[in-house]
Amino acid sequence: MRRWCWVFVLLGAAGCSDSGGGSETAAESGETVASGESESDSESGAREDLPGDLPSDPSSDLPTEEPRPELRSPAEAEDLDPDPDVVRVALTAAPLAYEIGGELVEGWAYNGQIPGPTIRVERGDTLTVEFHNGLDSATTIHWHGLHVPFAMDGVTWQGQAVGPGEDFEYSFEIDQAGTYWYHPHVDTDRQVDLGLYGVIVAEDPADPVPDRELVVVFDSWDEFSFDSDDESDHHGLDGTVIEWTANGLIDPVFPAAAGERIRVRAVNVANAGYMALSWPLLRHIGGDQGLLAELSEPESVVLAPSDRMDGEWLIGAGFDVIGLPYSLLGAPAVADERRLFEVQVDAPGAAPVGLELPFDGAEPTPDPGWTDVLYVFHGDPHTGYWTINGELFPDITIESLPLGEWAIVELRNVSQSAHPFHLHGHGFEILSVDGVAPEFRRLEDTFDVAPYSIVRIGVLADNPGDWMAHCHILPHVDGGMMTVLRVE
């Protein structure tokens, strides 16, 4: 998140570094104020008043030792439908003043919490979302990674946004399992940055059940934007993250007990920030489109913007969850590593064995070698323009795939920045990266294309519609890096 606007800053004064209006204070506006660092009674962390634990004397310059906040999963959305095969939830987008690291921020939220309420469904459920736009701007909800009908995809390409004060009902069946997320697809760079995002957990009834789950949403705070033509800036790329938050908290604590098996579902909702997520004995079990084909135990897992990963914690002793420096250059960054949060175990003990997860061990589909659709990425930070095939959205050439065809799409990156390519309405399989096939079948809906690399993907074009295809570095979308892939 960039500092779109600081309403006011605790313990001192500050201003807008990247103005977005909103000079009204939370107290003046009467908006809801949430505090991430000071947990309220509700699980969401939303509060109805200004934080009571703020220093009473703002002029005091003495630092205080405050207890580290506790990391909890975002509160879940209430299922309003008793039918076990239907999940009906209500979401309202509205302004919210909330606190990050001692600063009050005027943002936007779903149901008064950031991250928004987690929507939990089972594979095969029908999800219906009664959405109300309580903002003064048009918005939508895009169901990132879910294969929804085009009309439900939350895009304004051949559709309308939900206007201020208006309602819209999203409804679709979910035949997927895994960790997904939802966010606006209008003015996305700004609206996501202000706090409009939440997680969707699609459970597979066939999966073994862990003792607990942690849904953790990583967002960047104080992210610099270097895309500018200011003659005196560095012309670097967006995404230099000054601080990361975990469910809105800076360096919180997650209490756990020895013997617990915890499934952690992590989502990177940063506009441009990358992280390499690491903890001891990392067990990577799930990716964008559900369970991996095989358990993976890497040193770290890179989360590009919009990436998700599921991990399994077999708790024995406490450990730190680390964000290794990584940048949108598609490589480790020159910076210090930072602790994202701590898993705290008061009484260390023996770690349990992992769950018997149904990894299918599938091998990758062979690459036939030819290409049906080619997307080439270009751009430059100091112009702020980013193109696909030399075109700036919305002035684009629509490529088409016949409905039902297994098509080969080649992604080439001829720019300095990595580009996490996201295709709406479909998952896709990674066939090769720079000519090398993955060890196991790898299904994604967003895949990071490193600078100067070639990624080939296979897409089963089984969902008719005009599907947005774009980089998920949101300033790059603003800079034009989006197109449409038609399935008909």
């Binding site: 001192g12 940048s327 070698g369 095939n389 720019s415 600078p451 070639i454």
Partner: protein
């Protein structure tokens, strides 16, 4: 707002001015006038705080300081308040500009690791720095001095250095080792020392290294200049060259070296760092660093501005400014350091940096990568009906980019200078050195701000740039035992035409079809044009059984001429100025081919009778048949196609070096995001034949490469089967 872990006493400048690798440079000091020979003393002496009494901050070391503090700044230029000056804190990227009174309020981030330093910068001056004393809130005054105008011909360029040798501070690479290593592997470093350049310049074949070989090839074993030196030695003079071509009565009986007076301005781009006067220089004047270093650090960073109206090179478009002010200190050389670069936060007085935006623009690259040329050979002239401005585009990479979709979107550096993720800045800053950030080592810049000085392209094969540039799409259909396939070649990745730059380059597309391993016979369709090379060419109805010089295994390819290829190329080849005949690319179609199986004098026999056609080309096996698939061969008339800018000289010879050229007879190179589809027809013996298509990048025409003995290895750009 929070508190910085930095205590007030440690929030002081690190003023060491040598490289980080030179030992303990992290002197924690506020001294601004040490009396040493450090060039830094001047900078800090002139960027003064009005109160230096608290040089040790006067605070308890344990006392915390705010994460952000304010400082009032006054910037003067030659003693006068300067409006619009850049004020920036090292390590933040946050900029403020001075107002009409020369003042600005800077917010200082005290959490930056290393030195807290504020800088003032302006194009008219060298950037200066001032350390920030946390407990001294008095106004910081920067006294900038105008850079004295004029280019100093007495200045001697600093060398870059060589890899694996840190050298001395006289070499740019001493402090910028990564840049040095990257540059060393780049084509820019070889701009003068490249034997191909020297061969074309002097009319030499360096590879023909002894008299017998030379004379057997038709050359003359004459004494001439050894490139890069002042030595004379026997060399093989053969064929065309800039010196013999541009100087009348020269090169007939002896080498032109040392005799010629017309140099074609080759040195203005190929050896731009020859010390002394710019322009009118002999490429043979390039000796030492100007030869070995070609286009090097100190040359580029002495380019003060770009004059787009000037001719290519340092005597025209690239305006050099070598410093004229005497050095303030013997430690930094005879002249006051001066270096132009893209960023405003380089205050090291050893550099004398002054910011220039052109380093981030394509206009800078146009300084040599746009060359419009008149007829240079004495007595030759252009056809003014075709080239009314009296010049033709010899190199037009810049204008190709300007005319394409990436103009104002992605300048040259966005592709050809990849970001370096391993370094925090151009002074080799790494994570372990973050606490040492300061004037010497600079500060951490955001990802993408540090660019590799590699200039990746076709001459850096490992970069994969050629593979990113082009794509092939195959469509095919079989009907009545005939396979018709359409091959589309798209310029998918390049921001300019492919090929671009040196017009000796071409792209050659090979196409074949197979049924269960059996190669099908091409019966119609497009072929590789004449610039694909031929060993002999005979229009019908000459005697096609006589082929002087033929060898067993040679292939004779017969084609028909079917009008002209209508394409949309660069400039007049695509803007409607030229009609299809003026675009100059004959449309040739496959008839058939035969292989030479025996030779008797000039008389040859073929494996199958030659078919009837308009033209026959004798050549060699193409990509699919050759045992050495990447060796360039004469393949005109083979199933496929090709893309090139074809220059011709006064005699109608094509694919000539640009110094000889008087015309661009055709230019069907593929412009950015454009494509070309060729059609090929084969006799099919199965229901679903496999079509193979390969696009090769060829650096030199076959005939010229053979004459000079050049390594003419082609590169595969893309290879697809369907």
């Amino acid at each position: 707002m929070g508190w910085s872990p930095r205590s007030a006493a440690t929030a002081l400048g690190l003023l060491g001015l040598a490289c980080a690798d030179d030992g303990p440079v992290a002197q924690t000091s506020t001294s601004t006038d040490s009396g040493s020979e450090s060039a830094g003393s001047e900078t800090f002496a002139t960027a003064t705080s009005t109160s230096e009494s608290e040089s040790d901050s006067g605070t308890d070391e344990a006392e915390p300081i705010p994460e952000q503090i304010e400082r009032s700044v006054l910037v003067l230029l030659d003693g006068v308040p300067l409006q619009g000056a850049i004020v920036i804190q090292g390590g933040t990227g946050v900029v403020v500009h001075t107002d009409a009174d020369g003042r600005a309020l800077a917010l200082i981030d005290t959490t930056i690791q290393g030195a807290l330093v504020l800088m003032a910068s302006d194009e008219r001056a060298r950037t200066k720095a001032s350390e920030i004393l946390v407990n001294d809130a008095s106004e910081i005054v920067f006294e900038l001095e105008s850079i004295e105008p004029g280019d100093n011909e007495a200045y001697e360029f600093n060398p870059a250095g060589v890899p694996e040798n840190p050298g001395t501070t006289a070499e740019c690479g001493h402090c910028h080792q990564a840049f040095k290593d990257q540059w060393f592997g780049s084509p820019h470093r070889r701009s003068a020392s490249n034997p191909v350049v020297q061969d074309i310049y002097a009319g030499v074949a360096t590879a023909l290294a002894d008299q017998a070989t030379c004379e057997a090839a038709g050359g003359q074993w004459w004494v001439g200049v050894v490139p890069g030196s002042d030595q004379l030695a026997p060399r093989c003079y053969i064929g065309t060259g800039a010196l013999p071509d541009l100087n009348e009565a020269c090169g007939d009986l002896a080498a032109c070296d040392g005799v010629a007076t017309s140099f074609g301005a080759c040195a203005d781009c190929h050896a731009p760092a020859i010390d002394g006067v710019v322009g009118g220089r002999d490429l043979h004047d390039a000796i030492g660093a100007s030869f070995e270093g070609g286009v090097h650090c100190d040359l580029c960073h002495k380019v003060e501005s770009i004059d787009l109206d000037g001719p290519a090179g340092v005597a025209g478009r690239l305006r050099l400014h070598r410093p004229v002010e005497p050095s303030p200190s013997p430690s930094v050389g005879p002249w006051k350091p001066l270096a132009f670069g893209p960023y405003a936060d380089v205050p090291n007085p050893r550099m004398g940096a002054s910011p220039r935006q052109h380093f981030l623009t394509a206009e800078f690259c146009s300084g040599c990568h746009q060359h419009d040329q008149a007829a240079l050979v004495p007595g030759a002239s252009l056809d003014l009906a075709r080239w009314p401005d009296g010049v033709f585009p010899a190199h037009s990479t810049y204008e190709e980019w300007r005319a394409g979709p990436f103009f104002e979107i992605a300048p040259c550096s966005s592709c050809h200078m990849p970001a370096d993720p391993t370094l925090g800045n151009g002074a080799d800053l790494t994570a372990d050195k973050l606490p040492m950030q300061g004037v010497a080592l600079g500060w951490l810049r955001p990802p993408g701000a540090t660019r590799e000085h590699t200039w990746v392209g076709p001459r850096t094969p490992a970069s994969g740039m050629l593979q990113l540039a082009a794509a092939i799409f195959i469509d095919k259909a079989v009907a009545d035992g005939t396979l018709t396939t359409q091959i589309t070649v798209r310029n998918a990745g390049a921001g300019h035409a492919i090929p671009t730059g040196e017009p000796l380059r071409s792209l050659v597309l090979f196409v074949q079809a197979r049924c269960d391993g059996e190669v099908l016979t091409a019966i119609d369709g497009d072929v590789i044009p004449e610039f694909g090379g031929w060993l002999d060419r005979k229009p019908g109805p000459e005697d096609w059984s006589v082929w002087p010089g033929a060898a067993i295994g040679d292939v004779v390819r017969v084609v028909t001429e079917d009008g002209w290829v209508d394409y949309e190329g660069f400039g007049p080849f695509g803007d409607g100025s030229f009609d299809v005949t003026q675009k100059g690319l004959p449309r040739l179609r496959v008839v058939g081919q035969s292989r030479v199986i025996s030779v008797n004098g000039d008389q040859v026999s073929f494996d199958v009778p030659l078919p009837v056609g308009d033209v026959a080309y004798r050549g060699r096996d193409g990509y699919f048949e050759a045992g050495e698939p990447l060796a360039a061969a004469a393949v005109a008339g083979a199933p496929g196609f090709g893309f090139a800018r074809v220059l011709a000289d006064e005699n109608g010879m094509t694919m000539v070096p640009h110094h000889r050229a008087v015309d661009v007879v055709s230019d069907n190179r593929i412009l950015p995001q454009q494509e070309w589809t060729s059609t090929h027809v084969f006799a099919a013996s199965c229901v679903d034949p496999v079509v193979d298509a390969v696009l090769l990048h060829r650096p030199y025409p076959v005939a010229l490469a053979r004459e000079r003995g050049w390594d003419d290895a082609q590169q595969i750009m893309v290879e697809v089967s369907k």
